[in-house]
Symmetry: C2
Subunit: 316 residues, 2 copies
């Protein structure tokens, strides 16, 4: 089994080795800029971890894994244009550093490059990998569409919200794990179980992100605490709270800190905070149950179990 | 052999049969809108024509052919956002009818749907078809990048211009023909010869488009005569003219008609008009030579030869 450090090195090397076409070199300046800003590299790590569960030789999974990271960064790039986001990971976004057109076109190029890398999956699973990725790509666009539609709706249910984050976030984690499993020659059932694990893990992660926006540690959360509250984002917390109780009697004129505090209090007293914690725990448990269904000894699953545990610990 | 009318019907039916996902139905409203505005359907027609050269059963080529039309429309949609184009084919563009974000996201969805359809190519050629399309997709982005870069450059050579239109326009025609040939189980050499035919045909077409912008028949050209001149577009005519003679002594203050006339006269007296006609004739001849290299009787190639002839006739 590869250690996390070894996987991280392989991914870093894979990103450094990307074979950029040469006919219009400036097209790839924003692509390099986006990829070098880092991030957790969660998706390629999941591809390689899953491949390693079934195969000692994970080299055939490296290029598709990097392709998935390329794809993920494409979605962030276009999302940032649509959200008019000024920065990401502490640096100016591409549409700010260059312009909207450059961001649109280099994003399109990233999607194309991602497909080229993913299509380097071995012949024994190429069709399955391409079909899986196509479905995922379509679903992620649908998730983004629903997210945008929810901004102008006041009747979004908790179930609809879960479905939106499943599409926008979870399916890519499921895709990463299943892709790795397929490349590692897993049986179909195990590959699907890992997909399910990715869905449950992703839902728990996204709900935790909603929770951390209120109660996270500002030193480790990376984003401003209360950001979702200030922009009135329809998070799981807000949807659950509004179901149970009227909005708090506060406006931004009372000051941002007071506004955030009033909403945090509202989420607690309305029971939304508890509901959110319970939902996180429930999806984390589902994720663990998924792992337990795999015909793989627990010690080989330690890294994936650790990912799930981390969720629950960060939650307290 | 299928007639052009039969092919056209198959493509129309294929577009009507597109299996749109259902989780976020509004995502596909702009996609349907874009596809129903029509256009010549040249790319899917080329796919089916090429398949039919080698196989009587062209049904396996229909979905990939429609996928290529979907892809082509995606590039137009994003190009229109980048160019801030108000209309296309007589209707408001997507970013005008909806907004920029909708155009970006539905364009991305079109690229995803295109891949899903193209990946329905038969198993015997799936890898080759995907690789061909990935390369083409990347090259088209590079062509668009070069086109944008040329806007702010004053030293673009005729060779660079040809390379740009090869990437932006021709490779997709080559891809369409080669894709059809691969699906129809053509030998590798014939498939590549058809690709070359597509490149030469595309170059002749694009150069003819430059020429028609000045001397086309307003009733059939579809765009305003002189549009390229008014926006100072660096066409083949302008690049060739500037190489030979100083710009005409005219400004837009002299009136648009006078301005257009002065430039048309400049293109003729500088020899650019002649150079453009010769380049069109040369690429059209190359395209015919490509066809002659195919191990296929001339009567089966009649539709493709007719496409090339049409070029030369429209040119006079």
């Amino acid at each position: 089994m590869y250690t996390s450090e070894e996987l991280s090195k392989l991914i870093q090397q894979g990103i450094a080795d990307i074979d950029y076409p040469t006919l219009a070199p400036h097209l790839y300046d924003p692509v390099r800029y986006t990829l070098e800003t880092g991030g957790k590299r969660l998706r390629p790590t999941l591809v390689l971890m899953a491949a390693n569960l079934f195969s000692d030789d994970i080299r055939p999974a490296i290029t598709p894994a990097v392709g998935l990271e390329m794809y993920h960064n494409f979605t962030l790039l276009h999302d940032d244009v649509m959200d008019k986001a000024p920065d990401r990971r502490g640096r100016a976004t591409v549409h700010v550093k260059w312009n909207d057109n450059t961001a649109i076109l280099s994003g399109d190029a990233m999607q194309a490059l991602a497909y080229r890398m993913i299509a380097e999956a071995p012949a024994h699973c190429l069709k399955a990998v391409i079909d899986l990725f196509n479905t995922t790509n379509i679903e992620i666009g649908e998730g983004q569409q629903l997210d945008m539609e929810f901004e102008t709706r006041n009747d979004v249910s908790a179930e609809e919200y879960i479905e939106m984050i499943r599409l926008k976030t979870s399916v890519l984690l499921g895709c990463a794990l299943k892709m790795g499993a397929l490349i590692g020659k897993a049986d179909e059932k195990s590959a699907q179980t890992l997909y399910d694990f990715g869905i449950d893990l992703g839902l728990a992660f996204q709900l935790q992100d909603d929770w951390l926006d209120c109660w996270g540690d500002p030193r480790t959360f990376g984003k401003r605490i209360g950001g979702d509250i200030l922009c009135a984002k329809k998070t799981y917390l807000r949807i659950q709270a509004e179901k149970n109780a009227p909005l708090p009697n506060v406006t931004l004129a009372d000051g941002e800190d007071a506004y955030i505090e009033a909403f945090k209090n509202y989420y607690v007293t309305s029971g939304a905070e508890k509901a959110c914690r319970e939902a996180i725990a429930s999806y984390a448990q589902k994720a663990k149950d998924d792992l337990a269904r795999l015909p793989i000894p627990a010690e080989k699953l330690a890294v994936l179990t650790a990912l799930t545990d981390k969720l629950e610990n960060r939650n307290r």
